[in-house]
């Protein structure tokens, strides 16, 4: 039985075509999945009612991977087969991993290949580990929504580079998820608070998680979020607070540093409980069982805890200052501060942040869930469940868009990584005298030649008034809206005739194809350049011969004797021959020779046409 949800007015979908979309916060410590139902964005819980899925995967011999809480519990006793914080390994090569203190695993494979972590259950890459986490979230979402997912928006840190973003996308694909979009985590947090609905502003996102701290400064300009600066500390978080409190308990209870694993776990567990209690309470009791089974009881006040964690919280303020400086802003420029990450519940963190930014931070949405909630809003819109005016404008173009010019070359009009929405216009002209139509071929890709790019659409501009070659001014405008929908319009400027077409470039290509095309463009960069130069010379040769043939037909007999005419024909023949071959220099030379041979003819023609123009007029008419 399908269970239904409330749609926006007029947005009810056809049965069996409901567009189920989720937002996924693929975190270093924990991951979450959220969706919008009946207009309300909520994170989804598992059977046990848990929303947070620990981002931990354990591989054992002869068994499927274990994901989440049970794997997390096994981490201290089975560290080499239990992958924690895999996010820190994404898109990194072996050299980088060897230097990373968080990636102390054994690796297989060559230096150059994708690093694979050796476990009892086989060698796994970071992408595969992430995919296991995503699979669990996908299954949870499909069980909760009662159907297959249309797609997901997955969040990534703002500082993630192309390799890390691509690795995240690959993990999603491996988990059977269609990625609607990768969204920057701070942007997602801002979206969750509806800040994207304001027109302009500068927003600081303070994200203090279990093991990482990030501060991002975003500028919102006409609905587009631009990341102005990021800073942080990749080894600072709530876990450090737990350790500080645990050390205090150890000192109070007289527990020595040689405490065993179980004892340390009990200590950290109690420290965490105490920290959470002191979010609301001013004082709480503390209790710890020593190794000899005696029990120590005490109490901790919030004031005392503040002293214990003071230096940790202070360490977050310097990156805030640095991010502001990098963005070239002062504190007064910040219009909103958004709190993200469970550790921002600690009252002292809020106080320090408020004191630094000189304004109360936004804390209404659960800081553990705020990123997933923002991603869910974005997913809902991208899946097409919202009326058009709710479109969010947050993407860049993955591949350049352009059109075909003479000779099968691609002229790029909008370059890749341009933020959308965007409109760019470029002027083109006619190639032949009296040309009245122009065919416009829209292409996507990074390569120089038409056959190496993806064809998106073709259309024609007709009824161009007849003019000499090069006189018409045809303005071609490319426009990509927030949804990646491209429309191309062509207009002849003097007559106003126009024509246009709409294409969806993002649907033209699979992500894997995009990736392949990008790789190709890099692999073939130099041969593409040569091909382009060759085609340019061939086009130039054609243009020269075309113009000359037309002229000869008109008045060749009038201005040329037989010998001259034979000389020109000979040069034209030889240009025609080299034009078919691929020697760029030879074509250049042949064009130059032809031009030289014709020089006399061209001059006579010019004088002739001036005479024609002046005949029948008095000389005085030209003097004024």
């Amino acid at each position: 039985m399908a269970l239904l949800h409330i749609s926006e007015p007029g947005q009810t979908s056809v049965p069996h075509q409901r567009r189920l979309a989720v937002g996924i916060d693929l975190g270093t410590t924990n991951s979450l999945v959220a969706t919008v139902r009946s207009g309300l964005a909520e994170t989804l819980a598992d059977e046990a009612g848990e929303h947070l899925l620990p981002s931990v995967v354990r591989y054992r011999k002869g068994q499927g991977p274990q994901v989440g809480q049970s794997a997390k519990e096994a981490a201290p006793t089975d560290p080499m087969n239990t992958i924690v914080s895999v996010k820190r390994l994404m898109g990194r090569d072996l050299q980088e991993l060897r230097k990373n203190e968080f990636a102390a695993y054994e690796y297989a494979g060559e230096e150059s290949s994708v690093p694979r972590i050796c476990t009892e259950g086989g060698d796994v890459s970071a992408v595969e580990v992430s995919a296991e986490i995503l699979k669990v979230l996908r299954d949870r979402a499909e069980a909760s929504l009662g159907g297959e997912l249309t797609g997901a928006v997955i969040t990534v840190p703002a500082y993630f580079d192309d390799a890390q973003r691509q690795a995240t996308k690959d993990a999603a694909r491996l988990a059977g998820l269609h990625v609607l979009r990768l969204l920057n985590e701070p942007t997602a947090a801002a979206v969750a608070y509806g800040l994207d609905k304001k027109s302009d502003g500068v927003i600081a996102i303070y994200d203090l998680g279990g093991g990482t701290f990030d501060i991002s400064v975003l500028r919102l300009k006409k609905g587009v979020f631009e990341v102005m600066a990021t800073a942080g500390d990749s080894a600072l978080g709530g876990d450090d607070m737990d350790r500080a409190i645990a050390r205090w308990i150890m000192a109070q209870a007289g527990i020595q540093d040689d405490a065993d694993h179980a004892q340390l776990r009990r200590l950290l567990h109690e420290a965490r409980r105490v920290k959470e209690m002191l979010t609301d309470a001013d004082e709480t009791s503390v209790e710890i069982t020593r190794m000899d089974n005696t029990v120590w009881r005490g109490s901790l006040t919030r004031m005392q805890m503040n002293e214990l964690i003071n230096s940790l919280v202070k360490k977050t303020i310097n990156p805030c200052r640095r991010a502001l400086r990098d963005a070239g802003l002062s504190i007064d420029d910040i219009s909103e501060v958004v709190m993200v990450g469970g550790s921002t519940r600690v009252p002292m963190v809020r106080e320090k942040v408020e004191a630094f930014f000189n304004k109360p931070p936004l804390v209404d949405i659960d800081p553990d869930k705020v990123v997933a909630v923002g991603a869910a809003f974005q997913a809902d819109i991208l899946a097409g469940n919202k009326p058009d005016e709710a479109m969010l404008l947050l993407d860049v173009i993955p591949l350049s868009l352009g059109l075909e010019t003479m000779g099968g070359l691609v002229e790029k009009v909008i370059n890749r990584n341009t933020t959308i929405p965007v409109a760019r216009a470029q002027d083109f002209t006619t190639y032949k005298d009296g040309q009245t139509a122009m065919s416009i071929h829209v292409l996507q890709g990074e390569r120089e030649m038409v056959q190496d790019c993806r064809s998106l659409a073709r259309f024609s501009l007709r009824d161009i008034p007849p003019m000499v070659a090069g006189a018409a001014r045809i303005r071609v405008t490319f426009q990509v809206d927030a949804d990646g929908l491209l429309s191309v319009a062509a207009e002849e400027q003097s007559s106003g005739v126009q024509s246009s077409i709409e294409v969806k470039p993002t649907y033209g290509l699979e992500d894997s194809e995009v990736e392949q095309m990008l790789r190709d463009s890099m692999d073939h960069a130099s041969e593409d350049m040569v091909a382009r130069m060759l085609r340019e010379q061939q086009v130039e040769a054609d243009r020269a011969m075309e113009a000359l043939t037309a002229a000869l037909q008109k008045d060749g007999e009038k201005y040329l004797d037989d010998e001259e005419r034979a000389g020109i024909d000979q040069q034209m023949d030889s240009l025609q021959t080299v034009r078919q071959q691929d020697d760029i220099e030879a074509i250049k030379l042949a064009i130059a020779r032809l031009e030289k041979t014709c020089a006399g003819y061209v001059e006579r023609r010019m004088n002739g046409s001036i005479q024609d123009a002046m005949s029948g007029h008095k000389i005085e008419e030209f003097e004024s």
């Binding site: 399908a2 269970l3 949800h5 409330i6 207009g39 059977e47 909760s144």
Partner: protein
């Protein structure tokens, strides 16, 4: 001629309406599509049309257009949980046959 809401359905609708922050009530309806002929419509309402009938149940305005009313008379709207899944369900006495998933039906 009437359509009713269960207590759980009414509670959820109130939450959703409040969260949305605008709208006058809830539209229930049918449209001709889907594999078994008819499909349910459940939407927020910003504007009431002339051809709409308006009921009030549990303090919630339930809006149904006249054409849909014939198919929905006597329906009770419930909010159910089924494992992890949850959502609204139409208990419609007029339905003779529905497709396997229950998203569309015939009368």
């Amino acid at each position: 001629m009437a359509v009713t809401l269960t207590d759980t359905a009414a509670d959820r609708i109130k939450i959703f309406l409040e969260n949305r922050g605008k709208g006058v009530g809830l539209r229930l309806g049918v449209k001709t599509s889907g594999c078994s002929g008819m499909a349910y419509v459940i939407e927020f309402v910003d504007e009431i049309n002339e051809s709409d009938q308006v009921f009030e149940d549990h303090g919630i305005k339930v809006i149904i257009d006249q054409k849909s009313m014939v198919y929905l008379d006597g329906t009770e709207l419930d909010f159910k949980r089924d494992g992890l899944n949850e959502g609204f369900e139409f208990n419609n006495p007029n339905v003779k046959d529905s497709c396997g998933c229950g998203e569309s039906f015939t009368v």
